[in-house]
Symmetry: D2
Subunit: 144 residues, 4 copies
């Protein structure tokens, strides 16, 4: 069961992601969480884009973040992401953001997503897709 193996995505903070307080605006972390989810898929040999091409979407139904330390313009952050729960028709990602300039965890969070099919209704995760999600990233070359 490979649910739980984390993937790390490095992101550099853009100027436009700061606010007049001088650090990254709180909403922007959710863009970074999304980028990390994309990397999580690629580490398992598929892309979220392919998932949508197959007719599935993973809209977010719950999102949280706890901000414990600053992130500044031009900082490199590492967003560590893993699947912490995989249910019949939904899954949960957890996140830890490390600011490389301090080496400390600056933010944690999670998101819940439901599987939606063509009719924009929640559906059971099909077996094939479930296999994708359960892949062990050590068996795959990450997609670039």
């Amino acid at each position: 069961m490979t649910v739980g193996v984390p993937t790390i995505e490095r992101i550099r903070v853009r100027y436009g992601e700061t606010d007049q307080m001088g650090h990254a605006y709180y909403a922007n972390y959710f863009f970074w969480f999304e980028q990390a989810r994309g990397a999580w898929c690629r580490a398992r040999g598929f892309t979220y884009k392919q998932l949508e091409e197959y007719g599935y979407m993973l809209p977010c139904v719950e999102a949280t973040a706890a901000y414990k330390g600053e992130v500044l313009y031009d900082d490199w952050i590492q967003v560590k992401v893993w699947v912490s729960e995989l249910k019949r028709a939904s899954l949960r990602f957890d996140y830890e953001v490390v600011n490389e300039s301090t080496g400390k965890i600056c933010t944690t969070g999670h998101t819940w997503h439901v599987f939606m099919g063509h009719e924009r209704k929640a559906v059971t995760v099909p077996t094939e897709i479930r296999d994708w999600l359960n892949r062990d990233p050590s068996d795959y070359e990450p997609l670039t």
Copy 2:
């Protein structure tokens, strides 16, 4: 004790706030929450900008959202916001977003904020500011 009296801010969803799924991207709700907090202040006769001019900031230390229904481009939403807890050095806002096109609550959430002073350290909310926060909006003309 007027903590708890809600303020409502109407916002129309921008095209640039949607994503290719066809509805509003999940991170953008936190921009709307922030706009609603600004309206909450103005309903009490002060602005968040004045708070910063006084030397205080209210960085967000926790943010959550639960997405229960869609919000589409050009929809009017009503963000209802109220203070649900006011501690010595922090406060919590709660949010309910109603999509006017359906009349239903589509999203709920909350944010926690700490008071920070000039030295960017958490400080006890000063009495004067505490009075602002405890104001009864029915005693004030909302600032425009």
Copy 3:
């Protein structure tokens, strides 16, 4: 020929639209231009959303902005927008942004848009839509 009659959209600057320089980040003006285009349509009794429901899209093929003065958090701005050219398959909007806190024009700009149909190819503006664009806003109650 009513091409040219301007529409004005008032927008209050969000905290998340500022950057660490302390004023509005330069990319965000293009979100405001888009919001103003939406208001321009509503002033003529239709919405851009209806245009898309009819099967047409107006992707932007050129965008410019000249920044002459600051826009700060919580400022009210007025985005004045008008159609300056209407060709067979494209149209140009021009913009003037006035910062209400100074009363001065702080930004000007323009955008070019092409008409695209279902097949995502440029198409001649159909007569019915051309009539919408040529409407005199004084003949219409603006949609809310």
Copy 4:
């Protein structure tokens, strides 16, 4: 005179950067231009952040983009950026965006920036900074 040597920054398009038309929203290119300017500095052995720490800012006073082709979610783009003019107190960057999925230039643009000092007034570019801007990137290890 090294003004003119281009730097290339690769960026992957985020889901939150798309809109309901299904491609990248037009305003987001300006975030990418900014990220590319940061890379341009690092290729010359300094960072824009250092420039601000020295007391200078480079606010944008003019920005343009011409959109010639689509950019979709998950596409890799290459933003090529170079200084096309360096005046006494301002400079111009030019941009070419290549979509790696097609190999074609999908967008071009430019931005003008003025040098501002502590008093937020335009200033002549000081000699030391001018030397930074004139550096030949082949003499420097790009900062990471």
